[in-house]
Amino acid sequence: MAKVTTPKPAELVTSIDLKPSGKEWMDTPAEIKPGTFCWGAKAKNLNIVEFPNARDWNPSEEDWKLPENWQEIFLTGMKNLLDKYRSFKVFMDICVRCGACADKCHFFIGSGDPKNMPVLRAELLRSVYRRYFTTSGKLLGKTAGGRELTIDVLKELWYYFYQCTECRRCSLFCPYGIDTAEITLMGRELMNLLGLNTDWISGPVANCYMKGNHLGLEPHAIMNSIEGMIDDIETITGIRINPSFNRKGAEILFVTPSGDLFADPGTFTCMGYLMLFHELGLDYTWSTYASEGGNFGFFTSNEMAKRLNSKIYAEAKRLGVKWIIGGECGHMWRVLTQYMDTWNGPADFLEVPVSPITGTRFDTSRSTKMIHITEFTADLIKNGKLKLDPSRNDDLIVTYHDSCNTSRGMGLLEEPRYIIENVCNHFHEMPENTIREQTFCCGSGTGLNASENMELRMRGGFPRANAVKFVKDRHGVNMLANICAIDRATLSASMDYWVPGVRVTGVHEMVANALVMKGEKERETNLRGEPLPGKEGN
C-alpha cells in the first residue's frame, strides 16, 4: 500500500510534451506507472456476476495470474467480436493514420503519452488484428504492421484501454467516423474474458447487479438518504416533501444515477428533482430495485451492460407505470439512447410520454418511452409552468460543461442551456472548441473515477479545466454546471486541483434554488445551506 502522490499542477504541466519522439511504439512496452491505473478486479465481485477467470491480482505486480491459455481466449474472443460487430471489423481495416484524431484526446493533451493518441490506442489492438486476422499480417508480420500477442502487449492493451473514457471526441474528427469508444469497448470486453477488469468498475457492477445501484445502497439506505434530503428541504423551504418508493400504479417512474443519492454535490441535484416534482404534484415513484440510471456494465461487456439495464424496463412493467423520466447523467443517456431499446425493448407495455403538466407529447421518445429530465423541465419553463426567481442564483457566475455522451451520443445540447438561461442571470459559455459536440471529457469517465489513478484523472481533466479557467479569468465564473453524476464528482476534484474556486453543480440544483414553491417560507439559504444573495447578513 505504497502511497501514490499526485504531482502538483505546475509539475504536471511541465511534463507534457505533445511532440512524441524516440523509439518505435511497437518496440516500447508500456510502463505501468503508479497514479495512472486502477486496482485490479477482486475475485469476489467477478464471481457475483459469474465472470470467468476471477481472481485477486495486482496490475503493478509482474505476475497477473493469467490462465494458461490466455492467448487462445483472447484471440477466440476477438474473432467472436469481429463476427458480431461490423463497426469493429471496419474500424480495424480502414484507418489511414491521417492523425486528425491525435491531439483531440484529453488524455493525450494532458499526458503527451503518444499511445494516448486515439489512432495509436486503436493501433495497439489493430496490430494484433493484422498479425492474426489478415493474410498480409500473417505473412509479413511487422512489415505489415502486425504484432505478436505477447504478455507485454496484453499488459499494454489493458493499460491503455483503461486510459480511455470512451468520450468519442476523436470520432467526431475522424474522416471515417472511426470511434475509439467502440474499440475500447471491444478491448475491455476481451480483458474481461481474462478477469482483467478493474476494482473500481467490477465493484459497482456487482453492487448494481445485486442491490440495484453502483454504490450498493440497500433499500432502506436509499430511503434514509432521501429522508435526510427531505429534512434539509424542510429546513430551507418549510415544505415537507413526501415521495413514494416502489409504488405500483404511479404514472411515472423516475430513475437517476445513484451518485445523486449519496454524494455531494449530487445530492443537491437530487434535492432539486424532489422539489420540482413535489411542486408539480407529479404522480411519480422512485424504485429501490431499479435505483441506478448509470451503467458500469457498459464499461465491462455488452452482456453485462444489458443485464444491469434490464432492471429499468422490468421495474416499469412491475409497477405498471406509463412512462419513465431519467435524471442527470452522462453515460446513462448514451446507454438509454443507443442501446436500451435494442437490448431490452420493445417497451410496448408503456405509453408515449406526455407531460401531465403541459400536455406536450414527447414523440422523439415514442419507442423508448423514457425522457431526459432536462427535456421535461425545458418544456415546463417554455410553457410558463414554473415560477422562477433567477436572482436567487445571483451569486453564481455559471458556465456549462456538456457531457461527452449526451452531446456526442445523443445531441442534447440546447435543452439544458435553455434551463440554465432561465434559472440564473450570469451564464457564460466556454470557448467553442471545448463545448457542445466538441466538449472535453471530465477526465474520469467510464469507471476511471477511482482515487488510486488520481494523476491520470487530473491529466485527463486538464483540457476541460483549462477551458473553465479561461472563463473564470475572463468572466469570474465560479460555478460549473453539468448534467452528469460522474461529472459532479470528478469535476469537483479536478476544479480543486486546476481551478480552485470553481465549484460544481447539477442543473436541477439551480432550478430548485430558483424555484418559487407554493407555500414556501422566505428562503434564507440555498440548497447547500449557504446564505442566499442579499441574505448574507442574517
Binding site: 463476427d83 493501433e123 467516423g177
Partner: protein, 330 residues
C-alpha cells in the same frame, strides 16, 4: 527503415517493369499483369465488402455532432450533423464523402505557458486530402479518353477544363500539378510532424510512393519522353475488347506506368486504401439518430441472466418491510 523499405519496393517495381519492357516482355506487362490486377482488384474488393457485410450492425451508434431532433420545434435540430431521417443521413454522408466534412472540423492543439491550451484552425490536411482525392478522381476519369472509342463530350469538357490555362504543349493539366503537390504534402507531413511521423507505418508510405510513381511516370510520358500514344490507346482498347494486341513502338515508360497502376489495384483491397469502401459502412456516420423513436434490432440479441425483482426482494424483504416499503410477498 519504415520509410526506406516502401521506397525501395516502389523503386524495385519501376526497375522490374522497365527491364521487362526492354527485354521484350511487353505481352506479360501489357496484357497478363493488367488483366490479373483488375481481376484481383474486383474480386478482392467484393471479398472485403462481403467480410464487412457478414458482420451485422447490432446497435445504432451515430456520433452526433449537433443538436438532436428535439421534442418541440422551438429547439432547432442540426439536421445534417445530427440527422434523424434518411435524407439527413444521405446529406451527412454526401458531405463526408464529397467534401470531407469531419476533416474540415480539424483543429490543432497547442500548449502555451499559463498553462493555456489553444485550439487553432488546421485546414491543411483537409485541403491536401481534398486536393489529392479530387485530382486523383479527375485524372482517372480523364483517362477514359484512352478507354473509349469516340471520346464522349463530358470527358472532352473535363479535359479542356483541366487544361484551361493553356500552358505549354502538350497543355499542362492542373490536376497533374495538384496531385503531385498534394501527395508530396501528405508525404512531408508524415516526415516532418512528430505526431504523424510517430504513428506512420510502412503501409502509410508505400501507397504514397506508389501513387507518386504513377503520377511521375505519367507526367514523364505526357510532357517529356513521349510514347506512341495511338499505340497506347490501341493496347488499352485491345484489352477492353478482350482481343489484346501489343502495338509496336510504345515506350518502356508506359509499361512502368501500367505496372505501377496494376500493383496499386492489387494492393488496394488488402490495404487501408479500402477506406474508399469502408467509409460508407461506418456506423457512426451512416445511421440516423432516431434511436428513441424507432427501435433498432440486433440480430444476435440473446436472453441474459438477470437479477430479478423477486430475487432482490428475497434478499431484502425484512429490511424493506421495516423501512415501510411495499413488498410482493409477505
Amino acid at each position: 527503415m519504415k520509410i526506406l523499405l516502401p521506397l525501395f519496393v516502389v523503386v524495385a517495381l519501376v526497375v522490374i517493369a522497365f527491364a521487362g519492357a526492354q527485354a521484350n516482355l511487353q505481352a506479360f506487362f501489357g496484357i497478363v499483369v493488367p488483366y490479373a490486377a483488375v481481376a484481383v482488384f474486383i474480386l478482392g474488393f467484393i471479398v472485403r465488402a462481403l467480410k464487412w457485410g457478414s458482420s451485422p450492425v447490432p446497435f445504432r451508434i451515430p456520433t452526433t455532432a449537433g443538436q438532436m431532433k428535439s421534442f418541440a420545434p422551438w429547439i432547432k435540430q442540426n439536421k445534417i450533423d445530427n440527422p434523424s431521417s434518411r435524407l439527413g443521413v444521405f446529406a451527412r454522408m454526401a458531405l463526408e464523402v464529397l467534401v470531407f466534412r469531419s476533416l474540415f472540423r480539424n483543429t490543432k492543439t497547442e500548449l502555451h505557458d499559463g498553462p493555456k491550451l489553444v485550439y487553432g484552425s488546421e485546414k491543411f490536411l483537409w485541403l491536401a486530402g481534398l486536393a489529392f482525392h479530387w485530382s486523383f478522381l479527375i485524372i482517372f476519369v480523364r483517362h477514359f479518353r484512352f478507354f473509349m472509342q469516340d471520346v464522349p463530350f463530358v470527358i472532352k469538357i473535363m479535359e479542356s477544363l483541366d487544361s484551361f490555362l493553356q500552358i505549354g504543349a502538350p497543355l499542362l493539366y492542373l490536376t497533374d500539378v495538384v496531385l503531385v503537390g498534394a501527395v508530396t504534402y501528405l508525404f512531408l507531413r508524415r516526415v516532418v510532424m512528430p505526431q504523424i511521423k510517430f504513428i506512420s507505418l510502412p503501409a502509410d508510405y508505400f501507397p504514397l510512393f506508389l501513387i507518386l510513381g504513377i503520377a511521375l511516370s505519367g507526367i514523364l510520358m505526357r510532357y517529356f519522353t513521349k510514347v506512341h500514344i495511338v499505340g497506347v490507346k490501341g493496347l488499352v482498347m485491345g484489352l477492353l475488347s478482350f482481343s489484346p494486341v501489343i502495338p509496336e513502338g510504345i515506350g518502356s515508360i508506359f509499361y512502368v506506368h501500367l505496372f505501377l497502376v496494376s500493383v496499386l489495384l492489387v494492393y488496394f483491397p488488402m490495404s487501408k486504401l479500402m477506406h474508399m469502401g469502408g467509409v460508407f459502412l461506418s456506423p457512426t456516420r451512416n445511421m440516423a439518430n432516431n434511436n428513441r423513436e424507432v427501435r433498432h434490432i440486433n440480430p444476435w440479441n440473446y436472453p441474459v441472466h438477470v437479477h430479478t425483482y423477486e430475487e432482490y426482494e428475497n434478499d431484502f424483504r425484512e429490511k424493506m418491510k421495516k423501512a415501510g416499503l411495499p413488498v410482493e410477498k409477505e
